[in-house]
């Protein structure tokens, strides 16, 4: 492409300029992560970023204990999978009639739901705590799951409805002719066809729940129920003496699942971002 013509040369130069500018930005974005990576393999780590003099996996083996890592990670998994499951079931059920039947309530409903995505969750935490106290749901894993599912539900309904809209209606009409009920058609025809979309919604919600710190921090009290986001904070964030290397190692182990999941669906996720109410309506 870059021939010897003047236009080609200036285009080449412009390209190089863009490459360099982008690379500088990329390095700035990576810089804060450098410490995390280096400190994790440095048993003598502090807040300084340095190449470890005696790199080892000691930090990792130090945090690989049941109460420090496995229990919190199991709690994180339970919370995230539970949240994603509740979310998906509610969202699929809600999306089906909204996608399949015309009604003058559809649009107002979808926009009200969209409006729900706008509520700042951190602002709701104080009243939610009050509500949980009144209903005696504090420190309940199930109640926390339902609350977390609700906060991501509006977005999930939008995404699910958009995925469902792209499954042609004719396929179900055939099934209806054969006498299948709407729910049977949903289960046997629509859901299998939008498997990928459902996976994207599930993982999207799972990632959000996995990374959520504030909600379980407020609603779950007993250490045995706290997910990794909270246990990492109470172990490292509040005590005087910090084992920096262990903090970094723990952070990496805790981050790996979401990085993998994101890589898995990033294409579909970008798509659904574009598809979902968030961008196009």
């Amino acid at each position: 492409m870059e021939g010897a013509t003047a236009g080609g040369r200036s285009r080449f130069r412009a390209k190089l300029g863009a490459d360099i500018a982008l690379a500088v930005i990329g390095i700035c974005f990576l810089a804060p992560l450098l410490w995390l990576l280096l400190a994790a393999v440095d048993p003598q780590a502090g807040y300084q970023t340095k190449v470890p003099s005696a790199p080892s996996l000691a930090n990792f083996s130090a945090v690989l204990t049941p109460e420090l890592l496995f229990q919190p990670l199991a709690n994180s998994f339970l919370l995230s999978a539970g949240t994603a499951a509740v979310n998906l079931i509610a969202a699929v059920l809600a999306a089906y009639p909204l996608s399949r039947y015309q009604s003058r309530f559809n649009k107002p409903f979808m926009y009200t739901v969209l409006f729900g995505t706008s509520l700042p969750v951190t602002a709701i935490m104080v009243p939610v705590y009050g509500l949980f106290v009144q209903l005696q749901m504090l420190d309940s894993m199930a109640a926390t799951i339902f609350f977390m599912a609700t906060t991501t539900l509006p977005m999930a309904i939008w995404m699910t409805k958009n995925f469902m809209d792209s499954v042609p209606l004719e396929l179900e009409e055939a099934a209806w002719m054969d006498g299948a009920s709407a729910m049977a058609a949903l289960r046997r025809i629509v859901l299998p066809l939008m498997r990928q979309g459902l996976g994207v919604v599930f993982i999207f919600v799972f990632i959000q729940a996995w990374g959520n710190f504030f909600v379980p921090f407020i609603l779950l009290l007993s250490p045995g129920k706290q997910p990794a986001a909270v246990s990492i904070f109470s172990f490292f964030g509040q005590h005087g003496a910090i084992a920096y290397g262990q903090l970094a190692a723990f952070s990496i182990l805790y981050s790996v699942p979401v990085l993998v999941l994101y890589a898995l669906v990033s294409r579909g996720m970008g798509n659904s971002f574009a598809l979902s109410g968030a961008m196009k309506g």
């Binding site: 995390l36 502090g46 951190t122 602002a123 935490m125 968030a278």
Partner: protein, 289 residues
């Protein structure tokens, strides 16, 4: 509506119940409790009394609320409206004319900060801005004098950290928007010199203005709600110098046990969110063909 048509919409009910119980009820309770002296413990915890607008009057008689409101505005404008928005657009524009490999690598670096769990991002940012941290090491290498960022310039550190954490979203939005701009126009607009900037201002930006508007609404709402990053980096300190409204609501309710006042602060935030949310929904409705 016939019964049959009503039954068709029955599956929406679980979602509606969840939204009513866990979103609408807390919001309603927040507005109610903000007119009481509800507390975490003691007599006012068991039997909160109606105190009228006392909590709202108190907001403006103490310095902490106006300061937190001001810091919130500075934080949102600097880190979202300017930082994430402009940087995200810049990265997306650069990507349209850089090599694919470079833009894929840099895209991954930008997205990494965004995908990481927020507590990990917050720890990384804390370490980065620490007195002994990477930023001061770089400043030192360049011959400068390191600063205690988190103590002397807490809001600056938090603004930079939130820009770092959130830019990926704007970048993804603008990449998608620019991909829909006809290629020759985008290229022409990006070509050399001042004329390129003019075309950017008069051609490309007007073409993607609806994406810009929706993106601004969304990142404003997200940034308005940021808590974890601030809590881990500075806990709102020193002396309230980085206490934004969510941090203030948390401190009043949970550290000082004053649920009534805490919900009053939260109610102001919820109202703010509602205003932005209403504008956002309107924007999307107008955009629909």
């Amino acid at each position: 509506m016939t019964i049959r048509r009503f039954l068709r919409f029955l599956p929406v009910v679980p979602s509606i119940l969840l939204l009513l119980l866990f979103l609408l009820a807390p919001v309603a309770w927040s507005f109610y409790a903000s007119f009481t002296d509800a507390a975490l413990s003691g007599k006012a915890a068991r039997d909160p009394q109606w105190v009228g607008a006392d909590n709202y009057v108190r907001m403006f008689s103490e310095n902490s609320f106006p300061l937190a409101a001001w810091l919130t505005v500075v934080f949102v404008v600097a880190s979202a409206v300017i930082g994430q928005n402009v940087l995200g657009l810049l990265i997306a524009l650069l990507m349209t004319r850089s090599r694919n490999a470079v833009s894929a690598l840099v895209g991954t670096a930008v997205v990494a900060a965004w995908v990481l769990p927020e507590i990990v991002a917050a720890f990384a940012a804390y370490a980065y801005f620490n007195r002994d941290g990477t930023l001061n090491q770089v400043v030192g290498l360049l011959g400068g004098q390191g600063l205690d960022w988190l103590y002397s310039f807490p809001l600056v550190a938090i603004i930079l950290a939130n820009t770092w954490r959130g830019t990926a979203f704007s970048m993804l939005v603008y990449r998608a928007a620019l991909a829909e701009v006809p290629r020759d126009i985008a290229e022409a607009a990006l070509m050399d010199g001042a004329r390129g900037w003019q075309r950017l201002a008069f051609i490309t930006l007007p073409l993607i203005r609806s994406s810009i508007a929706t993106n601004l609404m969304l990142i404003t709402l997200q940034t308005l709600a940021v808590f974890t990053l601030i809590w881990v980096m500075t806990a709102g300190g020193p002396a309230g110098a980085s206490t934004t409204l969510p941090v203030l609501a948390y401190q009043e309710a949970f550290k000082f046990g004053d649920i009534g006042y805490g919900t009053a602060v939260a109610s102001v935030l919820i109202l703010l969110g509602m205003v932005f949310g209403a504008v956002y929904v309107r924007l999307l409705r107008e955009q629909r063909p």
